[in-house]
Structure formats: C-alpha cells, structure tokens
C-alpha cells in the first residue's frame, strides 16, 4: 500500500431540494487524489462537476446539500468536523479558484486587501504584515509592480490579471489541494495558456494537488495526470490522461475526444462544442432510467434503457460505467 490519499470521495450523493422533494444532482461519485497529484473532472455544464467541487470545500448552500457518502481529507471525515474546524481547513488547506474573476472578487475592496485577508485569517498576522505578504504573493503570480497593484480595485485589472489575483489568494497559505473550477473559461485564448502554466508551476513548487474542473477535455488532459469524465451526475469513466485520448472506453468519452478539433493544439481548444454527440444533457429532474447516456448513445441496447451499469475496472487500468465498453 502507498501512503493514504490526500482526499478520498466515496459514494457521494448531492441532493437538490425543490418543490416536489429531493432529487440527486450527483450520485455515486467516488475518486481519490494523492498529495501533489493533478486530477481532472470533465463534463458538460449541468453534469454535476461544479457542485462536487463545492461539496469538497464545504460550500454547498440551500437548495443543495450532501445526501450520502463520505469525503475524507487527510484521513479525517469532513462531515464530522465542526463549522470552525471546517473553516480552518477552507482557504488554508483546501483552496478554490472560480470561473468568473470579475464577479468572484469584491468590487469595492482593493485586491491587496483581498489577498491579505488570507494571512490574517489563517496565519495570525496583523494587517501591516499581511499587506506586506500580499505584495509578495502578487509578485509570485508574476503581476508587474505588485507594490502598486495591491492598491488597485478589480475593475482596474484585466481578466488575466484578476485571475492571477485569484490564484494569489488561493495559494496564499500553500494549501494541500487547489480546486480550479473552469479557471480560464472566461479568459482570452492567449491568456489561458499563461494562467494554466502559472497555476501548474506554482502548485508544483508548493506540492499542492490540483483538482481541475472543466468542460474542456483537451485542457484538462494537458494539465492532469488522471481524468474522470462525468455525465448527468455520475462519473462514467476514470483513466490516465494519455489512455483516455488513445482509447476512451465509454462512448461519451469517445464523443468528447472526437469533438476536439486538433489534438495537442491548445490554442484551438477555446470553447469547443460537443458537435459529435447528438442531443443535450438532460435536466436533473429528467434523468433517464438505466444508463443516463442511453438516449444519445449510438451503442444503446435494451439493457442500457432498463439497468444502470456499475462502475467496473478495466484491464488496462482505470474505471468505466458502461454495458458495452470497448
């Protein structure tokens, strides 16, 4: 046995409360991430990847809640921790970067102050020391003239600069895990590569594991060692990034791979649509019986419409949830 994983998610179910009761927005979600590892979660919007991330950092709010399953971080079950213990982890050992850097930063607070808060909250620094550390943190994310930039407000910075600030905030306390939810989706294609590179390097220096969440399989495979594909609230395949490109086992994964215009060309991976797969992701309340992908699947047979496939190990390593996997 190797050392215990950094984070271990087991059979997680996330409930969505609505007028008629509760529906599972995600279920049976299991994965593990080791220390310093890079792990990707890929899927179309509405597949449950973002709420899974919010569950890990304890930010699910009504109408969403954890319905079943466990999340173990560094050997401790998160649900058993008190609110104060959870807060001590949040930001300090598990940090998160959000998609939209304009709205994710407080518009009426200088960015330096928003970074400095981390040192006050988790490192017991006073404000003047924290502000000095904020300048260093900005320098770390390669923001030019950081001692001047700390006084700027978010609207004075470009999208790329704002996302650097978000990274500075997230990595301020050198966390064990960084959750990056579509960190570059809102940015120009040219800036995307810089931000990804920066995030990867800084995490490698600190030994920070990355959980990267995106609709963009190419981007995720480029950053992460292992990738899990989610569809309609379930993980349908989990593989090493290289394997998933070479030989995706699930029909949905293969559809995703086929829809990428040119492999390895990061610049072209801007906002790809899944043109190779007909139809759209069903709404949570309308998840079909059996395999949830069956209405869109070319290989679907009777069993797919009645019985949900179990997640099964592949001979070549990895896991898949399909009756007809390759």
């Amino acid at each position: 046995m190797t050392s215990p994983p950094l984070i271990e998610v087991e059979n997680l179910r996330i409930d969505l409360a609505d007028r008629s009761g509760r529906v599972a927005a995600a279920e049976g979600v299991s994965f593990r991430i080791d220390r310093g590892e890079t792990f990707g979660l890929v899927g179309e919007s509405g597949c449950g990847k973002s709420i899974t991330a919010l569950a890990l950092i304890g930010l699910l709010r009504h109408p969403l809640s954890i319905g079943a399953g466990t999340i173990r971080f560094d050997g401790r079950e998160l649900q058993n921790l008190s609110a104060a213990e959870q807060r001590a982890l949040r930001g300090n050992r598990i940090a998160m970067i959000f998609q939209e850097p304009m709205t994710a930063l407080n518009p009426v607070s200088p960015v330096g102050r928003q970074i400095a808060e981390m040192f006050v909250l988790h490192k017991g620094k006073d404000w003047s020391e924290a502000n000095r550390l904020a300048v260093e943190a900005l320098a770390d994310v390669r923001v030019p003239a950081p001692e001047r930039r700390v006084k700027d407000y978010p609207h004075q910075l470009s999208g790329g600069m704002r996302q650097r600030v978000m990274i500075a905030i997230a990595l301020a306390c050198s966390p064990d895990l960084l959750i990056a939810d579509e960190p570059t989706t809102a940015l120009d294609v040219t800036v995307q590569a810089e931000i990804i590179e920066l995030m990867r390097n800084l995490c490698a220096e600190r030994g920070t594991a990355i959980l990267m969440i995106s609709h963009d399989l190419g981007l995720v495979a480029n950053v992460c060692r292992r990738v899990a594909v989610m569809y309609a609230g379930r993980i349908v395949e989990e593989r090493g990034s290289a394997d998933i490109f070479r030989a995706g086992a699930h029909p949905y994964t293969r559809g995703l791979v086929d829809s990428l215009p040119r492999l390895g060309s990061r610049a072209a991976l801007g906002r790809t649509r899944l043109t190779e797969i007909a139809g759209v992701v069903p709404a949570i309340a309308d998840f079909p019986d059996g395999c949830r992908f069956n209405p869109r699947c070319r290989l679907a047979t009777d069993i797919c419409r009645t019985t949900a496939p179990e997640i099964t190990p592949l001979d070549a390593g990895g896991l898949v949830r399909c009756h007809h996997h390759a």
Binding site: R87, G91, F98, L105, N106, P107, S109
Partner: protein, 311 residues
C-alpha cells in the same frame, strides 16, 4: 472632482429655473388678485388710490413674463422679495428658519439610519426568523402611520403622561426639544431604510465574491463585515438620498405639529395667509437643499465605490 462638481451644478440650473417658473406661474393664476389676499383680514390698504399705487409698485399690472423676468433677476442677486405679512425681506425670514429645519432633518435622518440600517441587516442575515418578521412588521407599520398621528401619540406619552420631554416648541434648541419631532419625522425613512437594507443585503449575499469570501474560510460575521457591508452601503446611500425629499415634505407637518420654528412651519403659515413671496421663497430653498443633498450623495459614492470616477 471639481470639474464634476461644476458640471453637476450647471446641470441643476435648469431644474431650479423650472421649479421657480412653475411656482411663479402657479401663484400668478391665484383666483382673485394678490391685492385682495393682502387685504383679506380688513387691516390692509382699502383706499383705491393706495391700492393703485401699490399695484404699480409691485408691478402687478405688467404681463407675466415681465414679472417673471423681474423676479428672476432679483433672485439672482439673492433677493426673494418682501413678505406680504411681515413686510420683512423673505431672505432674512428664511435665514432665521434655516438652522432649526436643518437640525430637525439631520437629527431625523440620523435616527433613521441608526435604527433602520441595523434592523435591515438583522432581518437579512436571518431570513425567515423571528427577528426578520419583527423588523419587517416594524418597517411596514412605520410606513403606514400618519406622521402627525405618531407625533401626537409620542407627545401624549412622553410629554404629557410621563413628563420627560417638552411637548412642543424650540426652547433653547437643545436635544430635549429636538427628540420628539426628530423621532416622529425619522420613523418612515427608518422603515424604508430597513426594507432597502434587507433587500440589498439579501441580494449581495448571493454574489460570487461572497462565495469566494466563504471559500477563504471566513466566518459569516467576517463575510458580512469585510465584504457585504461596503457593497450594501452603496445601495443604502441611494435610498438615503431619495428619502431626503420626502423628509423635507414631511417636515412641514411635523414642524407644524410641534410648533418647530423651521422653514416648514413658515411655509404652512404663509400658504394659509397667502403670503406668496414667502411661499415661493420657502419652496425655492427646499428645492435647493434637496438638490444639494443629492449632489453631496453623488460625491460620497466616489468615496465608497471605487468603480465611480469623476472624469
């Protein structure tokens, strides 16, 4: 900043002119001549020759645009005319009444802010709780009460029954005299501020940056103190600016009820006695004050909200 101020001042000029025009025209169409109202109580000049001389003196026989021109040119030099009632310059009458009114309005607004804003915060941070329900009941009730009725009840309780406070008058202008009128006047802006604050905070609590703040491991108290408050303040400030207008209107009633010697009670007395120059002058001052307040609020935005720049 200075350029902004000058531009705002220039923008206000047409509004002020329009107000002056409206008020001027309004009182030029008073049924019955102004002279008859001057002599309404039988003490005025009844002699036909005297009347004739006064009409000439006051220029009442000139066409309305000539009279308006004359009024405006005198206004530009700070001359608002002479009161029909006291024969005193309107400007000096208004000057004497200015301070009590300012005192009353700012005291009322202070009360409204000190009670209304925290009430709104408490309600928004515990939506659906007893505190939320209670504070919203207080807010809706405050909006539904006739100001002078509340004033009468407060007067009865605190002045007549308990004897803690004087029932009316300005006295030495001290807090003792100010308290009842200010609370009476402050109740409805308090109620409105409570509602606005609640709505603003509820909305801000769903913003992305609040989620970011939570992801940093902040307690809810700190989220509110460090990130929600300043954002809410921008919205609350707008509401405060709008409330000043209504406050000036309500001040008329409250000043009259408590015999407070401000511009409001001067306005009512002048209206009742058809002392038209004083009525025009009072309305003019009220409008100027309201515009000035809104300009001050616009400047304050720049201090609170960095996204606003005066260039």
């Amino acid at each position: 900043m200075l350029a902004f101020l000058i531009r705002r001042l220039l923008q206000a000029v047409p509004t002020v002119l329009a107000v002056v025009l409206v008020v001027f025209v309004l009182f030029s169409v008073v049924p019955g001549s102004i002279m008859s109202s001057m002599d309404g109580d039988g003490r005025g000049a009844t002699d036909a020759q005297v009347m004739e001389r006064m009409r000439k003196q006051l220029g009442l026989d000139d066409p309305i645009y000539v009279r308006f021109g004359a009024y405006i040119s005198k206004l530009a030099m700070g001359d608002l005319g002479t009161s029909f009632r006291t024969r005193e310059p309107v400007t000096s009458m208004l000057a004497k009444r200015m301070w009590p009114t300012l005192q009353l309005i700012f005291a009322a607004m202070t009360f409204a802010i000190l009670i209304g804003v925290p009430l709104g915060f408490i309600a928004a941070l515990r939506p659906g709780s007893l505190a939320d329900t209670l504070s919203m009941v207080v807010a809706v009730s405050g909006l539904s009460m006739a100001k002078f009725w509340l004033g009468l009840l407060l007067m009865y309780l605190f002045a007549l029954k308990l004897g803690w406070l004087p029932s009316f008058g300005y006295g030495d202008g001290g807090l003792k005299y100010l308290l009842l009128p200010a609370v009476t006047l402050g109740v409805s802006p308090m109620a409105l501020l409570a509602r606005t604050t609640r709505a603003a905070v509820l909305e801000i609590m769903t913003a992305d940056f609040v989620r970011t703040a939570r992801s940093k491991g902040m307690s809810e108290t700190r989220v509110v103190k460090w990130h929600v408050m300043r954002n809410a303040l921008v919205i609350i400030l707008t509401a405060i600016g709008l409330q000043f207008g209504a406050l000036m209107g309500q001040a008329v009633v409250v000043e009259k009820l408590f015999s407070w010697p401000g511009i409001g009670s001067l306005l009512v007395d002048s209206v009742l006695q058809r002392d038209i120059p004083t009525v025009q002058g009072s309305i003019f001052v009220v409008v100027l004050f309201f515009l000035a307040i809104n300009m001050a609020i616009d400047l304050l935005y720049g201090v609170i909200d960095p996204r606003i720049r005066y260039s």
